[in-house]
Symmetry: D2
Subunit: 338 residues, 4 copies
């Protein structure tokens, strides 16, 4: 970490900072410029240093981290791409994995019908919400465990592994009993109680970026799970909050190559939430694949206009099947399969 | 709700929308313009309608809510300002209430010393974190129940009610045993499992706005608690995420009069998180009071440069006492006391 | 336009709104709900109505446009994609056009060398700045007309048409004398004096989206040029301002299909400014092509580390040639050539 | 400036950076850590260094400025608050100056009537737009020079100095002939041609922050005018673009104390544009004064519902007079007058 002292910082202020650094067990590298003194903290475990307490010291103007604040999630920890394996499906390898299904599991028939459509179109993981985070307490909140049972039945019939959301530490046990991948939604990206609990169990976790999380914060949240002992983590871009109102969120396509550079974890894109409009899903799915994503998560529904949630960002089965076909040459164009 | 059909929507598409509205038990008001048909849904309980499923119907261009999606939180529900009473302190009345204390409870001595400084300066509620949401798993995570016990001891010594954060449904019981107000932090504003659980208990709740929550979403989250049966809710502005990097967050002062217009719930401002810099706390606290806030929450610390968290946005006791003095004429200038 | 009256709007307030609408020559469609009255303004030229003055009338709660506020730029005006032709190069057709060159023209040799590299790699338009908008008055401000002459010489040698920025109405004449396409930069997207002047001349204009312009505002700015009589306009996404700091801007890939839906004008993507980092240009260029863009604008430099501006977001010639090769299969995958 | 090399930067890469720094005439301060080398550039004129070209050099990970990139605008240049004097009115002194008037000058009668209301309420500068930046080419674009003549007549009758917008370098001459203060609007904050031209004339300039300008960029734009020789510059906060849609813009109240810390220039607040709603103007005006602003700019109109522009964010004369009264005790509470 680098600490820049104010233009006219007093010698005793500089000394206080140096003493603090040394008390913490780090070596100091002092650089006195014409107008300012700069203090470098030298050591490999910079992520353990509390940046804000140095900023609070008298005479300090600003500080800058030299290294990323995450460790296990970083490329420095593992150069090679990590692969998360789920019932024979590999996420993070050459094949771009497609996870598809309804926003909410609405009934047994509906999820079974959808699961077959997912499989037929060539996707390999089934998504479906049983515990639903809804912005209104008056909206449908999901079928709960009943929904999980229908998902399990759909897996039995199709062989597709299941990904579904978990919203609270006390739900983990029941969700993990049925699901193959536990999903953390955008509103819980910094729900540290949940992340800590997910680090202590072994099912793979799909951690979505919060709508206002920086890429660094997303990886810090992944670090919570990783540092708890669970190495099966994938991270996902699903759109961020910006001033633009033509779309529900702004899909941050830049985040894909940035994440691939910073982390070895598989990177997933969700063009349904990233746009909020079904007709934008195919072009943005193609863009995500072209930018290097390892997996896609897409919302589909047998009858979007009758959906109990997110109807406007769900593809029909026909449109989904068409999109899967259109994605193939794009994947091949960047050296992948789908 | 108003549904705008596309320019060349077919009669059968219009009919389908009308049928859907009537199936849901609402009356339809149809308006055929030269180029477009507009469908109004008439009824008092608009908050029960699923907006996105109409947007997914063929021929629909866009929809607009006529009424706010929250009900109990709205000014229509109660015209008069709600007052939350905590051990004799009234939040939402003429007096602007100041809640102050450290980001984290670091030790028994530290919180006792701080509590006395809070009282001496004229503030009436003690804040202090025991369960801490930290962006890094390697940072201090709070003293937990031990911290709560120290807070309770500080209350015993000073008479100050306590506000402290709760991060997870399974922590509510222990936190509620000690605290007078349960705080929901910005990272949990849309943690619906937590909000639902807080609606089922009776302790007052201070709900902070998420860093990317709209004002409407904040009130929808309040609605979760209110609709669960707990009417003792206050909401707070603590800075939102924007492109500006000179401050940690952008304190949205507009939100104060907007909230006072939309809701009867008391409105709190947190200039510590809203700026991220201790020297900006006093001017922003004054601005918040001038804009009409009912309470302030401020971080103070006996020695900010040695704080285990948020040192850079904490006032020393001296600076806090000075700010309290400076706030008095501002409160009086807008017809309040402090 | 739809005007929603407040819950308890008085009859005379409703009457005043109705009278105003009728005074303006529009028909009114009144819809009285249980709790609110809604007033529809019926007429084809909604873009001529002043929305904010209705919002200022007593008893009005909010208003909503039914139609887009732009007319000539819209798909309703021309269903077919417009093609801008520049010295034999067609922008907006099947071929994805690549415009490349340095941020600033630094010398005669440099721009000639670059022009040959652009041509050799298969790109068809040469970019280069002569009048430069720089955030610091102490930075290099461009070679001015001297730079334009070098660009013209480069065109003579290679046959590549030239695109270069114009910053002020009084520069248009000299820039138009040399350039084939006049570029409006992101800081001037809402410089209406400049836009109006560009509408009165005939050279094609490439209008970039401002870093905080909505898609609608971008098209309104295009409407300034179009309504002045110049129909040769293309619009471009180059990244918007968000809270993310890992990249210089957030490239809004959603804007590509949204623009293709709303307008017939050719859509250009600038992955150099959209990311701010040279290593992110190739994946984002591929994403933009996959999402349906008509042209790309890319910064390249013989020696980026010695560039007088934007070095960090410029490709070397080798990396640019490699990217051109890699883009070909992506373009083909979405039914285009490059 | 500080340059952080990558973890495994090669010695020759480090050498190349060092050589470049020395070629530019600066001294180098090298700091070799365990994992990384850090290169400090020592010298007083850091604002002359091109940051991005160092970022483009091989082996460089990131760079950080130590000093602000502006010089004359900074507090280091002049410790004391600058005061801009306009016909006897001092902006930047103890008295908070209020500039008020209509968005657009609509007629002779209207501006004369408004000018008298401004004076009567105790405000000391008259605002009014003659050249108007409008997002639609179909909206009223201002009366032009005719409007300026009416403003001059209003000044003659009331003695109030005039502030009005200038949009283009070629308009400066005519606007400066009539106006006392030349205003640069938010859409032209980074219109460098205009800023440069304003630096070469002597009338005071009121430079508004762009809706997506950082505070640093605003001061860099001020630096354009200052470095041209015109020292009579004031800067203003008028709301920034964020995700919040309840208000037209988010008034960044944090910017007020941040600007007062960074610059000696007077700081103005515009609560009309900063909120977009007339009923929010009084609380936000109070907040701005409480936060330390030197002047306010407010839109007022004899009949806002009939205004040709910005009706919804204009106060009536009565509401303005009431606000002026209410502002007095707030100003006094922070040691100012109004």
């Amino acid at each position: 970490m680098i600490i820049v002292m104010q233009a006219h910082a007093e010698p005793k202020q500089i000394e206080a900072v140096v003493n603090r650094v040394e008390e913490l067990g780090y070596k100091v590298h002092l650089s006195r410029g014409e107008s300012r003194t700069i203090i470098g903290i030298i050591g490999a475990d910079e992520h353990l240093i509390q940046q804000s307490s140095f900023e609070a010291m008298d005479g300090v103007e600003k500080t800058m981290r030299v290294m990323q604040p995450f460790r296990i999630a970083s490329r420095d920890f593992t150069q090679q791409d990590s692969i998360v394996k789920v019932n024979g499906v590999e996420i993070g390898g050459k094949r771009v994995v497609v996870m598809a299904g309804p926003c909410s599991v609405e009934s047994r028939e509906m999820i079974l019908e959808t699961a077959h459509a997912v499989k037929e179109a060539g996707a390999t993981i089934l998504r479906g919400g049983a515990f639903k985070p809804r912005s209104s307490p008056y909206s449908f909140q999901g079928l709960g465990e009943e929904g999980l049972r229908y998902l399990a039945e759909a897996r039995e019939q199709t062989g597709l592994p299941i990904v579904t959301e978990v919203m609270s530490p006390d739900e983990i046990e029941v969700v993990a009993e049925y699901a193959d991948i536990l999903q953390v939604g955008a509103r819980n990206t910094q729900n540290y109680s949940l992340l800590r609990a997910l680090g202590k169990q072994s099912k793979p976790v799909f951690l979505k970026r919060g709508m206002s999380s920086t890429i660094q914060e997303l990886l810090m949240s992944a670090e919570y799970i990783l540092s708890g002992g669970n190495m099966n983590v994938m991270v996902g871009e699903r759109g961020i909050r910006t001033f633009e109102t033509a779309t529900r969120f702004t899909f941050d396509v830049n985040a894909i190559p940035v994440l691939k550079e910073l982390t070895h974890l598989p990177v997933v894109a969700d063009p349904s939430h990233g746009t909020g409009k079904w007709n934008l899903i195919p072009p943005i799915a193609k863009a995500a694949v072209a930018a290097g994503v390892d997996a896609l998560m897409v919302e589909i529904h047998p009858n979007p206009a009758a959906a109990w949630s997110d109807g406007n960002q769900s593809l029909t089965f026909e449109r989904f099947a068409k999109m899967m076909q259109d994605l193939r040459p794009v994947a091949e164009a960047v050296g992948r399969t789908i």
